[in-house]
Structures are given as structure tokens and as C-alpha cells.
Subunit: 141 residues, 4 copies
């Protein structure tokens, strides 16, 4: 099993993002990438991908990035985040890359960048988020 | 038709939040309230309502609150927001109240408070968000 | 000594805000108010009070509000904050009220509202901030 | 006059940051760097550089970075920002690099990274901020 498979296997299933269709495409120590195929179900009133979808992707990918640096038996939960929506998203695919900015024993700060991806694979930065995650769970494990 | 019905009728359908089951319960000039029945589909790995769901509710209710103060023919889009997740949500229902903090011709700032609601109607504040919305569309309409 | 005097006495001196001229005007369990007389020294290029000054006031007053709920021997440090600047400030005085939104053993979330105050005491909301503070120090004290 | 001198000359004086001792060290299209020598006057109760100082540096350097991309006769004002304080700063110097994430005709989003700098020039990331700036002023100029 590769290191990425190990990291993926350590990520528990998450019904909400599974339902959206989010899947991780790459993972390493301190970072994670994910992708989502957009559908009409994920849009807001003007037909754009809903800000809540982009926020969910930014948050969930950040959680995976942070989780790669956490001791076994511990996990992360989001304390707060801020997201800037940089352009409307109508692209067929959304891509996210999350990188740990500052790992910590109790608090980890992560940045997520969400891009709209066209059919020919071109990406345009669509959202940027800064997230604070708390590291929780049994210290003794 | 009551003022609330008028305001509701002016809100266009939004597939993503309809799919989540969010519905507006009350609306007035500069504020909006919404409610959502939680389901296992909306949870993250530990069985809590996903941060992305709470962010979506905060954002969408803020959009409705801002929209009540906008001229006909114009609409609002979220520029950015920040949300603090204050406690894990496992409650059967989530409630949100959004209030315009500062309306503007171009930018409106809104605060949303999301509460977990128990079966007997007790509410506990679960998230607080501060959102910046841009007012867009034809000025001349 | 009144309860407010006790709370004030428990706040350690802070050179930077003393230098700005910030002083607390009222304090209670879970909230604090402060005031500042603006001077040309505190302005940015267009003659408005600098965003950094408003952020400092919001942050420091939030710290005092959080400190009123913390056990003896422990103190608070800001983990992160977000501030929306709602209108330019040229008023002779700035006022801030900070309220704890959610106290916690480890993390406290506070909201600060900063107002411009005219000579006849009228206040206009000029900034709103949401702050996360970590509660640190010896648990055993 | 070099391009950096031109950009610097276009930045108007700002009393508050001049008083703190902030000065720009490098500027280019879409980015800016600044430095500050810390003094006891800039500290909070525990002797650390005050969060308000770090926020001011992040904000002001972001403003300069955004200003390098703005048409003559127009200027930028901060709409809102969020800052994560990543470690306590007691270093003799603070350095900031701000980069435009997304320029815009009306709104520019900038990221600022503030580092503590030791006497031998080593830098440790101390704060990261995400800022929204409005581009204002006469369009016709």
C-alpha cells in the first residue's frame, strides 16, 4: 500500500461530501487535493455553483491536509474559517488544493485554494480560504 | 399577499439549498430566518452535521436578509464570509437568523447565527458568521 | 473596590494600546467597553483612522471581555480575528463594545463592535469583528 | 527613477504606520514587502508584539501591493480582513510580504504573510492574513 493509500485509508467516510461527489485525488504530508464534478443540484439561484459547496470543498480538503500530520488516534475538527469567493463558478469541474500553513499540537492552520476547471483541464482560481482546525482526541493513544 | 410572502416570492429557487431541505420560516426588512431538518446525509466523519452545511445555511440565509433591502432588478452575491463553529451539532433541527449589520448600495454586511434545535424547541448557538455581499445587477431597472 | 475596579485591576498594562490612548470605560462579566480619542497620528493616507487602529481596539477590547470569564492565573491570547470596516472614521472619538459570544475552557469567541462617536455623543457603527481567543496558562492555579 | 521608486512615490504618507516605524523594502507589480523594528512600545501585556501591530502591518502592506495594480487617480481601501496569529512575536524585526491573489476593477483580494525575523535574518511565519480591498476614486481620471 502506497503512502497515499495509507493516508486515504485513514480518512473516515463523510456522508455529506460523498453525497456531493467530492473525492480526493492526491494526498501527502501536510497537503491534500480533491476534485468534484459540478451538477445542477449544486447551484444557487443564478445557476452558479453555490458558495456553500465551495466552502464545503475548501473545509473538507483542509481537514484531510491537516489529518496527514496528526498522531494516530487523534483527529481534526474545524474551529473557524474564512473564504473569499473570487469568481463565479460554472465550470464542469472544481479542484481544490489545501496546504497546512502552520501545524500544531492543538491548532493547525490550513489554506485551501479552489479552482474552476474547464473541460481541457485549465484552472482558474475561484476561492481562497484560511481555516483553523483543532486537533482533538486521546493524547495517550 | 403579505409582505413576507412578497419577499419570499422575490427569492429565486436555489437547487443546492432546496436539496439540503433548507426553507425560510420568516422574513422581514433586513433579516431572515430559516430551518433545516438534519439527516445522516448531512454529516461528516464523526456523525456531526458537516461544517459545510452550517456554512451553507449561514450564507444562504444572509443572502435572503440582504435581498430584502435591495432594489427590484438587483440581487446579491457573497463576496466572502467567515464562520466560527461553536459547538458540534447532532440536533434534529438547525435554525438560522441572519441580520443585516450594514446595508449598502454596493456592499452589504450581514451576521448569521446558526442554532442547534432540540425536539422540545430549545436552541443552542452553534455557529456565528460575518458575511460580505456584493449588490449587483442593472442599476437602471 | 467595585466589581468593575476588580476586573480592571486584573487587566495587565499593555504598552501598545496605552500609547494609542485606549482606555476601558466599562467592564462586566463577559463584556467590555473602551474609548479612544482620535488624533492625526492614528490616520492613514486619506486622513481616516487607520484600519489597524480599529482592529487593535476591536482585538484589545475583546481580550478584556474574554478575560472577565477566565479563572485566576490564566489569560487569553488572540488566535485569529476577522474585521469588517463598515464606514470611514473621521470622528473625534471611537467607542468599542465587545461581548463574549461563546465562552470556553480552551477557546472563547467574542464579537466587537466599533463605533465612530461625534462630539454630541452620537454613535455610528464603523466596524464589526469576530475573534477567537485561546485561554492559556496554568490550569492548576 | 526605477519602477520601485515610482511605485513608492505613488504611495501617499500614512501617519499611523510611519509612527510605528513601518517602511517598504521592496515593491513590484502585485506585491509589496515591508519591515518594522519592534520596540517595547508595540507590545501587549505579556511583552509580545501586539496582534494589532501585526494586523496593521498585514493590512498596510496589502494596500501597497494592491495599489501597484490600480489605475492612476484611484486608490484602495480595506473592506475587511482576517488574520491568523501563528506564533508569539518577540523578535527584533518583523517582515511582511503581501501578494495580490485576485486583482479586480472594484475588489482586489490580497494575502499577507508576516514573519518574525531574528538578528541573523532567519524568518519564522508569525501571521497570515486574507484581505478584501475596494478600489475607489474617479474612474474617469
Amino acid at each position: 500500500m502506497s503512502r497515499m493509500d495509507e493516508l486515504l485509508a485513514a480518512l473516515p467516510p463523510a456522508p455529506f461530501v460523498d453525497d456531493l461527489g467530492l473525492r480526493f485525488t492526491e494526498l501527502g504530508e501536510g497537503w491534500a487535493e480533491s476534485a468534484l464534478t459540478t451538477t445542477p443540484r449544486l447551484t444557487q439561484a443564478q445557476g452558479l455553483v453555490h458558495a456553500g459547496v465551495l466552502a464545503t470543498i475548501a473545509d473538507h480538503t483542509a481537514g484531510a491536509a491537516a489529518a496527514t500530520l496528526v498522531d494516530e488516534g487523534r483527529y481534526v475538527v474545524t474551529t473557524e474559517f474564512k473564504i473569499n469567493l473570487l469568481r463565479p463558478v460554472i465550470a464542469p469541474r472544481v479542484h481544490c488544493r489545501a496546504e497546512v500553513v502552520k501545524p500544531g499540537r492543538r491548532i493547525t492552520v490550513v489554506e485551501s485554494r479552489v479552482s474552476a476547471e474547464s473541460d481541457d483541464g485549465e484552472r482558474a482560481l475561484a476561492a481562497i480560504a484560511l481555516l483553523t482546525l483543532a486537533v482533538v482526541g486521546d493524547h495517550a493513544v
